[in-house]
């Protein structure tokens, strides 16, 4: 592991900051908290869950810094021993102060990492420092003791409608490319110069490199998003040339070329400074999931049921803002009557894919079958006595057009830029537009979680909760 990334919901962050700033402007506060964790490809992902706020007598109120009394330390140690979570400690520095750890912070973390290890065994110990200034600007630093080494926290991501990322005080950021401002001159003219930096420092994952995924990738490359991970196992075929960005004539000759490699090549031609990780694997592959959970935002551009479920699941478990985009066309050879774009936002505390009834269970089961079982089912379907579709419903062929998939992707990219820069947002978490019925055909509907859906218990559980797949 190279570093750690911390995520917290906006709602919980507000409660936390209220407590941490309760002795401002000069005095500090602290609290233990529970957290989930998962190993990404190079980052340890930490999700902040319940706070274990101090009770009477837990803190030395005479100190201007923080003094955690024995009863608080021991109570938390014994409670955490019985739970599956990692233990974290967060304290504030005075109003407007930097959050570099002091030498007594170093001593505190050294002590607690050893003390709690007896009770929590191999689970991480997380230590965060936060401060807020008069204007409400938050500063942050953190470190995690995990598997015998200290990992610095790269950033704190506050996830929610008005979510944002706070970069750590004590971590050096990669320098901005010299041409960034020039490239984004028109964009920054509207969104401000800071938006360029935020785009450059973003790390996004796109699942699916077809019509929508490739167009989205293309858009983000031109918007100078600094790191893009693209996941798709497929090779390009002739029918893709109509839709897949980055697919050229030469790719039809010779050996088949993977879609992700086409996109990596496209990015290099537009802006070689952008880091592209091309993963020619299925999204279910453990390596793909390691990259996925590290993302600042995830984009699902896949028609597969598995893709939909995975993205929804991880957005909740790992507190990752996610978008899923689908297109559909309806009509016949004589006339097209609908061109539909579905755009859904997933995240913690939001309705999951099951709440929204968007999972076709039979198709999902089919996708999850082994090749041998698929063959068996197809043969059974050929039995004329079987009810049609009882064993096998056939691989769906999604009819679409490049103009529609690109239009859908640009819509997503637009909302994503708003999310990244923090300057505007998608009005609700579900948007359906029929391009052939613009005035009457836009539906923008918030959806609450279903009362008994299992997603309610899964916010921030990371790898400590059972995966849906």
């Amino acid at each position: 592991m190279k570093n750690a990334k911390v995520r917290i919901t906006k709602e919980r962050a507000d409660i936390l900051l209220e407590h941490l700033c309760s002795r401002y402007p000069y005095e500090e506060a602290a609290t233990f908290f529970e957290c989930g964790w998962s190993e990404g490809s190079e980052s340890l992902i930490v999700t902040v869950n319940d706070l274990m706020l101090p009770k009477a007598g837990d803190m030395d109120s005479k100190m201007s810094g923080v003094g955690l009394n024995e009863q608080y330390s021991l109570r938390c140690a014994l409670e955490f021993e019985q739970k599956k979570w990692a233990i974290g400690l967060v304290h504030s520095h005075p109003e407007g102060s930097a959050t570099y750890p002091s030498s007594i912070d170093d001593d505190m973390d050294q002590y607690y990492s050893e003390y709690f290890s007896g009770f929590t065994k191999d689970r991480p110990y997380v230590s965060l420092i936060l401060s807020k200034d008069k204007r409400g600007k938050i500063r942050f630093s953190g470190r995690v003791f995990y598997k015998g080494q200290w990992l610095l926290c790269a950033h704190l991501q506050i996830v929610g409608d008005d979510g944002f990322i706070v970069r750590a005080d004590n971590v050096k950021l990669k320098p901005l490319p010299l041409d960034l401002e020039k490239r984004l001159e028109r964009l920054t003219g509207v969104l401000g110069k800071r938006s360029a930096e935020k785009l450059w420092r973003s790390n996004i994952v796109i699942v699916g490199a077809g019509g929508t995924g490739s167009a989205l990738f293309h858009s983000f490359v031109r918007s100078c998003v600094g790191r893009i991970v693209i996941i798709d196992p497929d090779f390009g075929s002739e029918s893709n040339t109509e839709r897949v960005h980055g697919f050229y004539e030469e790719d039809l000759r010779g050996e088949p070329v993977r879609k992700v490699d086409m996109l990596k090549r496209l990015a290099a031609k537009i802006n070689p400074n952008i880091e592209v990780v091309a993963l020619p694997i299925d999204v279910r592959d453990p390596l793909a999931l390691k990259y996925l959970i590290e993302a600042d935002i995830v984009f699902g551009c896949t028609d597969s049921q598995v893709g939909k479920v995975l993205i929804s699941d991880h957005s909740i478990r790992h507190l990752i803002p996610s978008f899923h985009v689908n297109v559909a066309m309806e009509g016949n050879e004589d006339q097209l009557v609908s061109e539909i774009i579905h755009l859904i936002k997933y995240g913690p505390q939001q309705a999951c894919v099951y709440c929204r009834e968007l999972v076709d269970a039979q198709k999902l089961s089919q996708e999850l079958m082994s090749p041998e079982e698929k063959l068996q089912r197809q043969l059974a379907e050929q039995n004329q006595n079987a009810t049609h579709g009882a064993y096998w419903i056939g691989d769906p062929v999604i009819h679409t057009m490049g103009s529609l998939t690109t239009a859908a992707s640009e819509l997503v990219a637009n909302y994503a830029i708003g999310q990244i820069t923090g300057l505007y947002k998608m009005p609700e978490d579900f948007l359906e537009i029929d391009l052939l019925k613009i005035q009457n055909g836009a539906v923008c509907v918030p959806m609450k979680r279903r009362a008994h859906c299992m997603c309610k218990e899964r916010d921030g559980v990371a790898s400590q909760g059972e995966p849906w797949l």
Binding site: Y26, E28, A30, D60, M63, S64, G65, V66, G67, L68, N69, E70, S73, L74, A77, L78, E79, E81, Q82, H91, H93, P94, E95, G96, S97, A98, T99, Y100, S102, S103, I104, D105, D107, M108, Y111, Y112, Y115, G118, F119, S131, D133, D169
Partner: protein, 221 residues
């Protein structure tokens, strides 16, 4: 009446089975005779197993895996194999302020008097600094900026009405009340084209700002 076997056992270096296997857990970590575990231990001895003492730690028994702990222990404790104890620092401290105190201790170790005043707003007072042109000693006050150490130290102040006020460079600014005295602040910015290096929190601090203040007192009108 002893049997031959018992005669051999006694005084021949054979220990009863239960004593050989004496071990306890402290903070769920196992310690045995090789670590100094004995049948009767003081709480200080138990605390020292994990690097603390009876003065710095609270020692309790933990009841199995129940998560319940006893009252605070003192004196001597009898230990049996598998006994569980917690040894926890009485107080664990953390916080930001310590950097300033560390910097000031560098000065005090060099026999420079300094005072750190926290209220109503944090300030550092350098005491008894020599003003060459007046052959006198003065106290100089400097504010701890909001956002220190990222925010740079800036300006300096003298006791309102002191003779040094007419000698130092920089525009006189507001009067502040700190530590029961009135101080006049002056526009002195050594880290912003004022003669010093640009502010760098990795290098500069209140221990280095003393030199900026001394320069300010030396270069007078």
């Amino acid at each position: 009446m002893m049997t031959g076997t018992e005669t051999i056992k006694q005084g021949q270096g054979h220990e009863p089975e239960k004593e050989k296997n004496l071990f306890i857990f402290v903070n769920r970590q196992k310690f045995d005779r090789t670590n100094g575990v004995k049948e009767v231990m003081t709480v200080d001895e138990i605390a020292r197993l994990v690097g603390l003492t009876a003065d710095t730690a609270v020692v309790r028994r933990i009841h199995g895996n129940s998560g319940n702990s006893s009252d605070v222990l003192s004196g001597e404790q009898t230990t049996k194999p598998g006994d569980q104890f917690s040894v926890t620092r009485k107080r664990v401290e953390g916080g930001c302020e310590e950097r300033i105190l560390k910097e000031l201790s560098v000065l005090t170790e060099g026999f420079q008097e300094v005072e750190f005043v926290k209220t109503p707003r944090p300030h550092v007072i350098y005491k008894n600094l020599f003003v060459p042109c007046l052959q006198q000693k003065v106290d100089v006050i400097v504010a701890v900026p909001n956002g220190y150490p990222s925010a740079m130290i800036d300006r300096a102040g003298l006791i309102e009405g002191s003779a040094t006020m007419s000698k130092v460079k920089g525009q006189p600014q507001e009067i502040i009340q700190i530590a029961g005295r009135s101080w006049r602040m002056f526009s002195y910015h050594p880290h912003t084209n004022g003669g010093g290096l640009p502010w760098n929190p990795s290098i500069h601090g209140f221990h280095t700002y003393l030199y900026e203040v001394l320069s300010w007192l030396e270069v007078t009108k």
